[in-house]
């Protein structure tokens, strides 16, 4: 008679010994899993953010152009010069306008996709939003350069239906108009809205999909008209989604420097200022200080959004 096999199998090698070790000390496995990614993100990313902060407290010697590595608030004070303050305000106004524009165009799409689209149409709407979201950013901007050009499709279409007068009247408005759509602030606005629109649609749709149908029925039972239900039930429940979307549209507009460079006037935005200061001007401390501005604004924005419960919709 052979002896019965023991209930606990013998260890067959290093792999088994490690398995037993992880079983006895789950924290050890956690540490092994987390160390490489945290080292990467901690060193490369947080380290870099820290370097950015450090640089912003340095200053540049005005005569030699050499970075002086001693702490000073001088560089931050430079942000409050009239021309730099202009850049910050222009960026904030554009970001706010783009956010509102995106919200207005996104709402019907998100509402339809969440409430009415079924089966095949659901997939069409999903892919229809996701593909533009992921497809090449530069190609999208480039497409708009073609569309808005003076000899491009919009001018052609306006001439075709006899609306050139209106187009020219819009372009003549000081502040938003310009020589052609591709060299006007209005053009910059349109491209921003186009490029960030999917970022607004997705969280809005997620929030709207969570509105229970029973609530709409209850609202109707209590005698509310469609408009009343929309205003007092749907809209407040969609608000966290709108705020979540606005975080993306606001933050992305504030940091972008490609779009104002390709479509628009030569007026600078924060992103463009950062890029030019670190490149041709070689003033890394001021560039870093400029880059801190969006971080601070976003932190304030996120704190407010968190109070409004926007993160449940992400």
């Amino acid at each position: 008679m052979t002896s019965p096999t023991p209930a606990i199998l013998p260890e067959r090698g290093l792999a088994d010994r490690l398995t037993a070790l992880f079983w006895r000390h789950p924290r050890l496995l956690l540490a092994v899993l987390l160390t490489p990614p945290l080292l990467w993100l901690g060193v490369v990313y947080l380290g870099s953010l820290f370097a950015l902060l450090l640089q912003s407290f340095y200053s540049i010697d005005e005569f030699s152009g050499v970075v002086k590595e001693e702490f000073t608030l001088k560089t931050y004070a430079e942000l409050f010069r009239a021309q730099n303050l202009d850049i910050i305000i222009r960026t904030l106004v554009m970001s706010a306008a783009v956010t509102i524009g995106c919200a207005l165009i996104a709402f019907p799409i998100a509402y339809y996709a969440a409430r009415f689209a079924r089966g095949k149409w659901k997939a069409v709407f999903y892919l229809g939003v996701m593909l533009p979201l992921w497809s090449s950013y530069l190609v999208k901007v480039y497409a708009w350069k073609l569309i808005l050009a003076k000899e491009g499709i919009i001018t052609w279409a306006a001439e075709g239906v006899g609306l050139s007068m209106i187009l020219n009247a819009i372009l003549a408005i000081p502040g938003i108009g310009g020589n052609s759509l591709s060299t006007s602030p209005l053009g910059t606005f349109i491209v921003f809205v186009y490029v960030w629109l999917p970022y607004m649609i997705l969280p809005m749709q997620a929030a709207l999909e969570r509105v229970p149908t029973s609530m709409l029925e209850a609202s109707a039972d209590l005698g509310a008209s469609r408009a009343q239900t929309f205003r007092t039930v749907i809209l407040p429940l969609a608000m966290p989604g709108v705020i979540a979307g606005s975080i993306f549209t606001f933050s992305l507009t504030m940091g972008d420097y490609i779009i104002p460079q390709i479509v628009g006037t030569s007026a600078r935005f924060i992103g463009l200022a950062v890029y030019q200061l670190q490149g041709t001007a070689g003033n890394i401390p001021l560039a870093a200080a400029f880059a801190v501005v969006p971080i601070v604004i976003m932190l304030i924005y996120l704190t407010i959004a968190k109070r409004k419960g926007a993160f449940d919709a992400l």
Binding site: L41, L54, A106, P132, V139, A149, E151, Y194, G255
Partner: protein, 268 residues
């Protein structure tokens, strides 16, 4: 009963919005065939296929294309390893600092690219690191981690913990469980995450301009052509190539994860 039909106005606004998202991209395809090479004239005065040949023979396009492919491949590879590790740690266990780590992972895409780029640029400048292919890869891998993480963690959540225990009960060690149980279940989610990371890296321009120095990836080449155009139709051809190089992986990622609760790509 609350009305379950959309009003005509809503339908028009919704479909109009979708068209607004798609029509501009189609225009790029038309412009690649135009005979006019000095301006963006519409409608094109004539159609030709010669620009594809011209683009093929332009020697300044190939090195940026190879660099972009190389960078995207390595960055995706790194992001897949790091993203899988962190999602495995985050999926099952609750531990101190979990919230902070999840914030740390999404930060690189939550903050505008110009901040990520400028941060890396500051760090390279302080530490005297010269620009190289690896400085580009460093930046790309950082923001690609979250893409892989998002896909993998959603799949982990759906996976029942029971099958891992069953595997252990049947005598498999952790590595065998990973190889024979976990990996087949995670496979499509990881592949989808990798596809999206590749598309994102191949197309990235904002962070890259801060970490590339004098090198040029394909998007940087395109950006230079946009600022100072030389042969516009050639740029159109390259735009189509870039578009397809991102479009195809996205579609594959969608089909890989379709039907699950976690269809890929909902969060960029």
């Amino acid at each position: 009963m609350h009305s379950d039909r959309a009003s005509l106005g809503l339908k028009i606004a919704a479909v109009g919005g979708l068209l607004f998202l798609h029509l501009p991209i189609l225009l790029i395809f038309l412009y690649a065939f135009t005979t006019e090479d000095k301006s963006y004239q519409f409608p094109p005065p004539g159609l030709t296929t010669q620009w594809f040949g011209v683009a093929w023979n332009r020697e300044d396009i190939w090195p940026p294309l190879y660099l972009s492919l190389w960078v995207a491949t390595i960055a995706t590879f790194l992001a897949m390893i790091l993203g899988t590790l962190v999602s495995a740690a985050m999926a099952r266990t609750a531990f101190f600092g979990r919230e902070q780590i999840s914030l740390l992972i999404i930060l690189p895409i939550a903050l505008p690219g110009v901040i990520t780029g400028m941060s890396l640029r500051s760090a390279f400048s302080i530490m005297d690191i010269p620009f190289s292919t690896w400085t580009i890869i460093l930046g790309h891998a950082t923001f690609c981690i979250v893409i892989v993480y998002n896909n993998a963690v959603a799949r982990f959540r759906r996976l029942s913990g029971g099958i891992l225990e069953a595997s252990a009960d049947l005598g498999a060690n952790s590595f065998q469980t990973f190889r024979y149980v976990l990996l087949p279940n995670l496979g499509t989610a990881l592949l989808a995450g990798g596809m999206l990371a590749f598309a994102l890296s191949f197309d990235e321009v904002i962070v890259t301009t801060f970490t590339a120095g004098q090198q040029s990836t394909l998007p940087i080449w395109m950006l230079q052509e946009l600022v100072r155009p030389r042969q516009r139709p050639v740029t159109n051809v390259v735009a189509i190539v870039v578009f397809l190089a991102t479009f195809v992986p996205i579609l594959i990622a969608y089909y890989l994860t379709r039907g699950g609760s976690e269809t890929a790509g909902a969060g960029k």
